[in-house]
Symmetry: C2
Subunit: 316 residues, 2 copies
Amino acid sequence: MRAGFAGSLSPVSAEPAVATNLFADRLAEAVERKRSQLLVGLDPRPDLLPVELVGDVQVDRPAAAEGCARFCRGIVDSVAPHVVGVKPQLAFFEALGADGMRALEEVCAYARAAGLLVLADAKRGDIGSTARAYAAAYLEPRGEEPPLADAMTVNVYLGRDSLEPFLAACRRHGTGLFCVVKTSNEGGADVQDLVLSDGRLLWHHVARFVHELGEELVGGRGLSNIGAVVGATHPRAVGEARRLMPQSIMLLPGVGAQGASPADLARAFTSGPASALVNASRSVLYAFRSSGEDWRTAAALEAARLRREVWAVSGW
Amino acid sequence: MRAGFAGSLSPVSAEPAVATNLFADRLAEAVERKRSQLLVGLDPRPDLLPVELVGDVQVDRPAAAEGCARFCRGIVDSVAPHVVGVKPQLAFFEALGADGMRALEEVCAYARAAGLLVLADAKRGDIGSTARAYAAAYLEPRGEEPPLADAMTVNVYLGRDSLEPFLAACRRHGTGLFCVVKTSNEGGADVQDLVLSDGRLLWHHVARFVHELGEELVGGRGLSNIGAVVGATHPRAVGEARRLMPQSIMLLPGVGAQGASPADLARAFTSGPASALVNASRSVLYAFRSSGEDWRTAAALEAARLRREVWAVSGW
């Protein structure tokens, strides 16, 4: 812990070491070994916890955070055989304040110990020293501890130089990025589908921009450490995104509770078995609420079912 | 604390109460009373702290977070007579993990107790239940505690429905938003300056979108609770932004360490004395590093100087 902790926010070293163990390669290895392209999103909500964990969460924020941490650890145990990673959604932890962030740290460490990759769904985007601080928070070793996450999501509205500190972290530590390109919500069209003067949609431009960012960080399987979030509620968008970003790993939310079907996704996988990841959050976490089974069993069954369905659709 | 804590992430109530005490009005009152349009950004970096606070920060993260909290509290004390609020930059707190988030909570409460408004610089942007969780984290009461912040910054790339939960929080609790429209970094042009098929720049479109969002939340002084971040490093942009968003409070970073001069800013203030806020972070926080004075004195002097300069430029 002692070595240069306070220096973790210092400007990028002039001679960065280049990581050899890229996120894209670690992911590809995990996908092939487990025959799974599934992530489970960790979106813990105190008001939706199983009854056995609800006990104390009404009391105060520390109790709510502990209830959420226990729930997430149980989910990790249940889904670990079926998924390659978890995607903690930071908002749900931040909503519980500092106690929630402590829970996030515990859950990330627990998932890593279970052999899972951790994708921090943060969608951060800022400039200069602020972007460096975000990269330090999530993608760089913290003292002698490993990075909190193996990869994180970022927003590109602030342009290339706002992404450079994240790219620098990826180069040095082998961590990965998923840039928000096309989202699964209806309102995503308000900005992302604007037509540019050259006739392209804005998100097509952003997709090429992300492709170019990722060209310097392509691993041994031909996949880049710089991936893209592409809403799976737009089946045509998935194919267009693949054409524009042939080397990017696509993170596909919108399956399950948001409504897309695995059949919509096939085109995402044409660049290899690990070239896309399907994320399911509520449909796995809260499966017990409709199935009536034990929450761990319900999550495991739903994760196993989705994993098989996605693997079949992927054609690998 | 007991009442319905776990329900804070529940969907928006069908019949929201409408707040009467709008952020825009509270801000306008503070600006006129203090004759100040200055914010100080709280960007605490363990490696830049004054020597008297550096002592323990090398040891571990809790010590670094405590050093940063002490620094921020000292800055709040020093600048409180000269500023209307502080703008904690969440990245620097997140970089210190859960301990940093605890420090953030302390510093926000301390600033509020000192009579300052708190603008959380978060630049969050996500969809559906995730956006609701972010709004709950920063813009809504937490149990019996007040909201962490009076206003926060958000990213609009995910469109109208991604902003709706934040707008709902503003309606119910009188809190405010600052939408990122045009940023102060060079790379901001990569996306924000793209030319649309109708000949407008993308950020001009976003500015109108933000103006329209804010029309329903205009306070007694004619200013909306929905403001905009406009980089002060683009002097022409400031005037264009004012024309496109006549009722929005403009949050202007880029003064001081990032290089814009107060004279660049005059056009922002044409909608009233509180129609723009100038933020200075490093130039105030770390003034002691060049002046050689006590860090509190140096911050107070620089804040007082900037406050006078901005007030003069504003023409009020």
